[in-house]
């Protein structure tokens, strides 16, 4: 199956202990809230209890009268005149004229203890004039809906659209109407998904310090220290280089820690408190109320299918709200939803709609799970109607290398067909099911991403190597980058230390997002190692008195490239490094780029469920994830990504949803009520790692983090129909909604 199956590796593909494992099983690893500083103050945030309200006045006098309260900040402490996304970020950090959602920050306070800061926050008197609000996307898109922000629409929105539509898109190719006319069956259905939260267990936490001279430092749990730097300095009107941001260990992110929330507040409080460091740690309810959930979606899909399984045409119209700011991932949802299929006639229409909810943040394959829920559900229903095997239908229409994707660009090397074939061959598919049990299948897609990347590598005096990367390690990327670096240098895995470094130590890096860390930082580390190897070969050549081109690097040593180069024993990396001070100084390598050659990743999931007809509860009996990794550098952590993505998707499908009361307040801002899957909800999650190497990466890596959350939503809906004959078109498929559907069916 692998296209370069004859290539053999010593380390890539093995499963060593992760380098940060010991710290993480002993409690030593330092996360966002684990650091304190001399003279530190604690910050607390005052948040709007209203979904939409004009801020009439803010009176901090009672708070400031408390002993130990050192500073209060409001929007008045932030610069004016920002535009575009910088303004959005500032407005979301701290409300200006209006609070735009339940939980929107309106003021912050710093005091000498956490309890005192919380008490002071309660004493800050905010007078509100409550305004009409809107929560649901289908309500928000109505022409007479409460207007969240006049003038927020960008140039893509045609005249005459409803006032909360801020982005509009309409793209495709071919003639969908002609395509529908060719089909044996045309079906159109509507679907809805609710907002869900990334649900990382570590709440946001930071320790910020900023002096009157505009120089500052921050310790913060984040997926991207440079994004924190860029966004904080933009919001505060500072020079980017004057803020040093150090990433802590990160307790999960899933996209939700690629932006700022309370970080600029800690800096503003610090500056106002004479430069004392200020620590802010969010509570879980603050996390759920005020940090990025994903968007909610309302979707219409129409597909034409021939009896032989050929898709003749497909059309999707998606409406998404991503809170009170532009940015719902409706574009991504549309790009991904038909991506597994080779289509000649396809049309997409999308609306990004404002509502009185928190500003959405990225969440694992942003948009793709919603789009997949709609499209993969409809395809399953149509296969059922035409009595076509759903896996055969997907194989018949599957995209392959060179095909034009549904959203435009041609695919490079991809492994969808291999993934579907591996699914077909899996023993889970031949297990017999009992009463009220059903099997569901769905495919999923994520582009994967490259992004700005800067890595440096230095050879130490003893011939070991250190690699500095800018992508925080969320799920084992230190291990994968160490494996690739050691493989390239020809040294041991334990001889490489990978450090995630602060913003002062490297050029700009995008966060660990877009499934990019192992692809982009890994590729840059391999190129950097190549530079160091070239230099080490040059040093050996100088010592041997031969041309550098006559030296090659084999098994961690320089050696003459052939008989004409002369007879010299190999010179090991330790020998070269031991005398580098006398042969020209430090030996290092570095690489900066937006690495080319991203490889897209397809997956296919198969789930078996049992539905209790008396309660409507769905039990996951077994679960299979098959996905193309390109190459699994550390297979255990690739499996972990597959399993974790599936578990999040299962939660989204069955339990999780933002629930608002009639005043627009989030009704379930605690883990008891926002219920993510627990250990007893799930079975073991079977995985198959398909390896169709990505030719754009030196070891074939595609990136594996995101695709896995995409298929569970439709796969489970498809399994529920298979089990009990009801089609669920609105997530979550909670016991109550499934039971209602069973009763409605009679």
């Amino acid at each position: 199956m692998a296209k370069d199956e004859f290539r053999e590796f010593k380390l890539v593909g093995t499963r060593p202990d992760r380098p940060d494992g010991l710290d993480k099983v002993t409690g030593r690893a330092r996360y966002g809230a684990d650091i304190s500083a001399p003279g530190m103050l604690w910050g607390a945030v005052v948040r709007s209890p209203h979904a939409h309200a004009r801020i009439v006045s803010i009176d901090p006098s009672k708070a400031l009268a408390l002993d130990g309260v050192k500073a209060v900040v409001t929007r008045a402490d932030f610069p004016e005149g920002l535009t575009g996304e910088d303004w959005n970020l500032q407005e979301n950090t701290i409300a200006g004229e209006r609070a735009l959602y339940d939980g929107h920050a309106v003021a912050a306070v710093a005091a000498t203890s956490k309890l005192l800061a919380e008490e002071a926050a309660r004493l800050i008197a905010v007078e509100y004039e409550v305004l009409p609000h809107v929560i649901d996307v289908d309500d928000a898109i109505k022409p007479d809906a409460p207007v969240i922000r006049a003038g927020a629409a960008d140039a893509s929105v045609p005249e005459g659209m409803p006032p909360n539509v801020v982005r509009y898109m309409d793209f495709g190719r071919g003639d969908v109407e002609a395509g529908f006319a060719e089909a044996d069956l045309v079906m159109e259905r509507s679907y809805k998904t609710e907002a869900t939260h990334q649900g990382y267990i570590e709440p946001h936490a930071c320790l910020g310090q900023l002096g009157a001279d505009g120089k500052g430092e921050m310790w913060v749990c984040t997926q991207g220290q440079w994004y924190i730097r860029k966004m904080c300095t933009a919001v505060l009107g500072l020079d980017a280089s004057q803020l040093r941001v150090t990433p802590s260990e990160i307790g999960g992110g899933f996209g939700g820690k690629t932006t700022i929330f309370m970080e600029p507040l800690s800096l503003a409080l610090s500056r106002k408190a004479g430069g004392k460091p200020v620590k802010i740690v969010m509570s879980r309810s603050e996390v759920l109320r005020a940090t990025g959930p994903t968007a909610s979606a309302s979707m219409d899909v129409k597909i034409g299918l021939k009896k032989d399984g050929t898709i003749t045409a497909a059309r999707a119209e998606f409406r998404m709200q991503g809170g009170a700011f532009p940015g719902a991932p409706v574009d991504m949802a549309l790009y991904c939803c038909f991506a597994p299929y080779n289509l000649t006639n396809v049309a997409h229409v999308g609306y990004d709609v404002l509502a009185n909810r928190p500003k959405c943040a990225a969440y694992r394959a942003p948009g793709s799970p919603m789009g997949a829920f709609a499209v993969e559900s409809l395809l399953d229903e149509m296969c059922r109607a035409l009595k076509i095997d759903p896996l055969q239908m997907r194989l018949k229409n599957a995209v392959k290398e060179g095909d034009k994707s549904s959203y435009g660009p041609r695919f490079g090397s991809i492994g969808l067909i291999e993934t579907l074939e591996a699914t077909q061959a899996h023993p889970n598919l031949s297990i017999k099911l009992g009463p009220n049990q059903g099997r569901g299948i769905a495919a999923g897609y994520w582009f994967n991403h490259n992004g700005e990347t800067s890595v440096s590598l230095a050879i130490s005096e003893d011939g070991t190597a250190q690699v500095s990367v800018g992508t925080p390690d969320i799920g084992g990327s230190r291990a994968s980058i160490a494996l690739m670096t050691a493989e390239t240098l020809g040294i041991g895995y334990e001889d490489v230390r990978v450090n995630v470094v602060e913003t002062g130590a490297l050029g700009v890096n995008e966060p660990t997002h877009g499934s990019r860390a192992t692809f982009a930082s890994g590729k840059a580390a391999v190129i950097a190692a190549g530079h160091a190897i070239k230099e080490m070969c040059r040093r050996a050549a100088t010592e041997w008195g031969i041309e550098p081109e006559a030296v090659e690097w084999v098994n961690g040593a320089a050696q003459p490239a052939g008989p004409n180069a002369g007879k010299h024993p190999p010179m090991t990396i330790a020998e070269i490094a031991g005398k580098m001070g006398q042969t020209g100084g430090p030996i290092s390598g570095h690489h900066e780029s937006v690495p080319e050659g991203v490889g897209a990743s397809f997956g296919c999931h198969v789930v078996d469920v049992e539905v209790d007809p008396e309660t409507g509860r769905t039990t996951i009996l077994r679960y299979l994830v098959v996905q193309d990794a390109g190459r699994a550098i550390h297979p255990a952590y690739v499996e972990g990504q597959y399993q974790g993505g599936a578990a999040q998707g299962i939660g989204w499908a069955l339990n999780e949803a933002y629930i608002y009361d009639d005043k627009g307040r989030l009704a379930n801002p605690v883990f008891l009520d926002y219920r993510i899957p627990v250990a007893s909800d799930l079975p073991m999650i079977d995985t198959v790692i398909v390896e169709v190497p990505n030719p754009g990466h030196p070891y074939g890596v595609r990136g594996v983090g995101e695709t896995g959350i995409t298929p569970p939503l439709p796969a489970i809906a498809n399994a529920i129909e298979d089990a009990v004959g009801v089609r669920m078109a609105h997530l979550p498929m909670s016991p109550a909604t499934v039971l209602a559907a069973l009763k409605a069916r009679g």
């Binding site: 992760r18 002993t26 809230a33 267990i201 709440p203 255990a636 974790g644 250990a679 073991m684």
Partner: protein, 160 residues
């Protein structure tokens, strides 16, 4: 609010601290004693990231007041390894790649140790239900459950 003097034993060491009567045991461990291995994921007893043992009983330290520790024995993740020798659960978590971000790991290890002391030979289902109060968002629990079962098997073999 005036503080209360608390004397207690943490991981075998006698310690004392001054606690605001409103402070949780978790806050006292983290902010008064510098034991930041126990984590706060929710503050409402729903996630288990703050799991510790209080006189042997598994508790969410976010639901216990610091002053309640007076005269008690507390075990936290920092006391789980015997010097440089990891507890089998800690070793098996690394071997099985049973952690991704690692934030829930201390609480899960403390909870799993309490399980294996009560029940050295748990079934998969028993492990899943025992750990149902410890949320993990990264792993889907698969490798965690395998690591606990494998550690239990090894500990039984050593005990035999």
């Amino acid at each position: 609010m005036s503080k209360i003097h608390v004397t207690t034993v943490v991981n075998g060491d006698a310690v004392e601290f001054l606690a605001d009567p409103r402070e949780t045991l978790l806050d006292c461990l983290r902010d008064r004693l510098g034991l930041t291995g126990s984590k706060e994921g929710c503050g409402t007893g729903d996630c288990g990231a703050c799991s510790v043992r209080l006189d042997g009983t598994l508790v969410c330290s976010c639901l216990v007041l610091g002053v309640e520790a007076e005269g008690k024995q507390i075990e936290t993740i920092e006391g789980m390894a015997d010097g440089a020798t990891l507890h089998p659960l800690q070793r098996k978590f690394i071997e099985h790649a049973a952690l991704q971000c690692g934030f829930c790991t201390p609480g899960i290890l403390v909870a799993a140790k309490a399980l294996l002391e009560r029940n050295p030979d748990p079934t998969e289902e028993e492990v899943r239900f025992w750990l149902a109060g410890n949320l993990c968002r990264c792993t889907g629990y698969d490798k965690i459950i395998r690591a606990v079962l494998d550690a239990a098997a090894e500990m039984r073999q050593e005990a035999a």
